[in-house]
């Protein structure tokens, strides 16, 4: 639990790190809108190229961005499968008869076992998965022998492939943009930027300062609470609570044995924090100064210009 890093921020000093967080937030939002205006696969490919150039220019480690994509593998895969399976527009690329027989099922089980055995090579997990899919396809197409149980048709249309490419690349651009934002902006800067941007909402009753305070306090206390959870887990483990195994009935009691002290300590902490803030004359809603004031500089100007150009470009290709 000690290895959990809050936020994705990695220290650095390239161009992106010195842009005002407000500029960055707005630029990312505008670029996302621009991405959604694009309509053909060539346009999103160009967009993706621009995003890549920006990443390389900003010296953001691509490995980190790929890591950020991990939770979305499933989503990307679903998009791919659905588009390929259900899109019935355009010309046929592939039309194959798939056969299922006892033999092919045996082969498929064997392929699955091999795939799971090789899964320890985590680096190539995606590659392995595709190899597995291709293997399944090959087995169903060619290795049926008799007796046949059923057959089904796999038809893939070119528009299906193109559309899936389009959707996936668009998703990739958006994720890349937001990852660059979180990688190069400290959580505190991010909340400060948000606070500043949400300030006009005071007219409708949303106090952005309170909002920013809540976010920054929560961020500040995540490591503390994790540390505390660790201690509670150890304390209960030394009383025989076995979090790894055990029956379901016991598990419920064990989870309660974690949650109750957790809540009590969290409440106590928040009360203490409130007292400590009040004893230093904190009054909610009063105007206050900051150590680091947000300032615009030439980098913000460059960013704004590039962002506006991108947006204008995508509007242009949509209209023309």
């Amino acid at each position: 639990m000690k290895n959990v890093i809050i936020g994705q921020y990695i220290p650095g000093s390239s161009f992106f790190y010195h842009i005002d967080p407000r500029t960055k937030i707005i630029a990312v939002v505008v670029l996302m809108v621009a991405t959604f205006l694009l309509e053909t696969i060539w346009q999103v490919l160009i967009g993706f190229g621009i995003a890549l150039i920006l990443i390389i220019a900003g010296r953001v480690p691509i490995r980190k961005i790929v890591k950020g994509l991990k939770p979305l593998y499933v989503l990307l895969l679903f998009t791919l499968v659905f588009q390929i399976a259900f899109n019935r527009v355009g010309t046929i690329v592939l039309d194959a008869t798939m056969q299922i027989s006892p033999f092919s099922i045996l082969f498929m089980i064997a392929a699955t076992i091999i795939w799971r055995l090789l899964a320890s090579f985590k680096k190539f997990s995606l590659l392995l998965f595709f190899a597995y899919l291709v293997g399944l396809f090959f087995i169903m197409k060619n290795l049926a022998f008799s007796p046949l149980w059923t057959t089904w048709q796999l038809t893939i249309y070119d528009q299906g492939l193109i559309m899936s490419g389009f959707v996936i690349i668009r998703l990739l651009i958006i994720i890349t943009l937001s990852t660059v934002l979180t990688l190069t902006t400290k959580p505190t800067e991010l909340t400060q930027g948000l606070e500043s941007l949400l300030r006009p909402l005071k007219a409708i009753g949303l106090n952005s300062e309170d909002f920013a305070l809540i976010i920054s306090i929560s961020l500040r206390y995540i490591p503390t609470i994790l540390d505390e959870a660790n201690k509670i887990m150890n304390a209960q483990a030394s009383r025989g609570a076995d979090f790894a195994e055990g029956r379901l009935k016991d598990k419920v009691v064990q989870v309660i044995s974690l949650l109750v002290p957790m809540f009590i300590i969290a409440f106590k902490r928040s009360e203490e924090l409130a007292d400590a803030m009040e004893s230093r004359n904190f009054v909610p809603g009063k105007p206050r100064t900051r150590i680091h004031d947000l300032k615009f500089n030439y980098r913000d100007l460059i960013t704004t210009v590039i962002t506006v150009l991108c947006l204008a470009g995508s509007i242009l290709v949509k209209v023309l």
């Binding site: 000690k2 290895n3 505390e228 201690k231 509670i232 150890n234 304390a235 209960q236 483990a237 030394s238 009383r239 025989g240 609570a241 076995d242 016991d250 009691v253 309660i256 044995s257 949650l259 109750v260 002290p261 009590i264 300590i265 106590k268």
Partner: protein, 286 residues
């Protein structure tokens, strides 16, 4: 049996490739009978880390900890029942808030035994016995643990571990945050538990008075290294213990100051205040 440390080192993972070395090459043996051990050292010297090794809550980075014949190494072994080790070696954490969670004291103390599959009735009996052992009467059984005073909470949390009937009892700073009377009460309690049951008791503490008065063995940790392992008498006869950031007990300091100031030749090594007072009284009368 007991606990054997064999060249144990432990590193806390840090940022990137940096590590914090909490324990360095520690070898020691702890019997599971008739020992009253104090584990001392300044904050951050690795005391709690060492204690958590003793019931397999954390695993050594290198070396072996042998707990009642079961070797614990860096790698988790699926054949070892770590849970049963934790039943044999009871570890009481510093803050009772981290473990109290049930509605009544009785239920809370029963949590440990029930985790080790002790039947309900027997667990209830054990809870009662453990509660009496820490000097609280039966009427506390139905109280809510969150409405108790700090000292009472502490005693209930100790009872929660005692109820599992461990062979060795480890207490992480059991006397911190207690008033002097509460401290004395707890220490006398540990002493009587140790005498009655013959269990080995290990306490982590910063209070040298308690170390000198109650324990019969001291382990000194400094920057993750085991610097001293011997009797408190031998430790406080040394003149260089401040290099490990330790103090002398009040009795020794006071008597030494009197000797220096008035050129007496008193025996400064008195374990209790009473003994020190009578030494001074004798000197004054003669």
């Amino acid at each position: 049996m007991g606990i054997q440390f064999k060249e144990v080192s432990f590193q806390y993972p840090g940022w990137g490739k940096q590590f914090f070395e909490a324990l360095k090459d520690i070898s020691l043996t702890i019997n599971d009978k008739d020992e009253f051990i104090a584990l001392v050292g300044e904050t951050g010297s690795g005391k709690s880390t060492l204690a958590q090794h003793m019931n397999a809550l954390i695993f050594p980075t290198s070396g072996t900890v042998e707990i009642n014949g079961v070797p614990i190494t860096a790698k988790r072994n699926k054949k070892i029942k770590y849970n049963s080790i934790r039943q044999q070696i009871g570890l009481v954490f510093q803050f009772p808030e981290y473990q109290l969670f049930e509605e009544t004291v009785e239920k809370d103390i029963m949590f440990g035994p029930k985790n080790f599959r002790v039947p309900e009735e027997e667990a209830r009996e054990m809870a009662k016995k453990a509660l009496n052992m820490v000097g609280l009467s039966d009427k506390y059984l139905t109280r809510n643990p969150f409405n108790l005073s700090g000292g009472e909470k502490k005693r209930v949390s100790i009872a929660g571990i005692l109820a599992m009937n461990p062979k060795i009892l480890i207490l992480d700073e059991p006397t911190s945050g207690l008033d002097p009377a509460g401290k004395k009460l707890l220490m006398n309690l540990f002493k009587s538990i140790q005498k009655e049951t013959g269990k080995t008791i290990i306490i982590i503490t910063h209070d040298m008075d308690l170390v000198y008065e109650y324990t019969n063995r001291v382990l000194v940790l400094n920057e993750g290294m085991l610097e001293f392992d011997g009797t408190p008498d031998y430790l406080f006869h040394r003149h260089d213990i401040d290099k490990w950031h330790l103090d002398y007990p009040a009795t020794i300091s006071v008597l030494r100051a009197i000797n220096d100031k008035f050129h007496y030749n008193l025996d400064i090594y008195q374990k209790t205040i009473d003994a020190a007072v009578s030494t001074i009284a004798k000197a004054v009368q003669s």
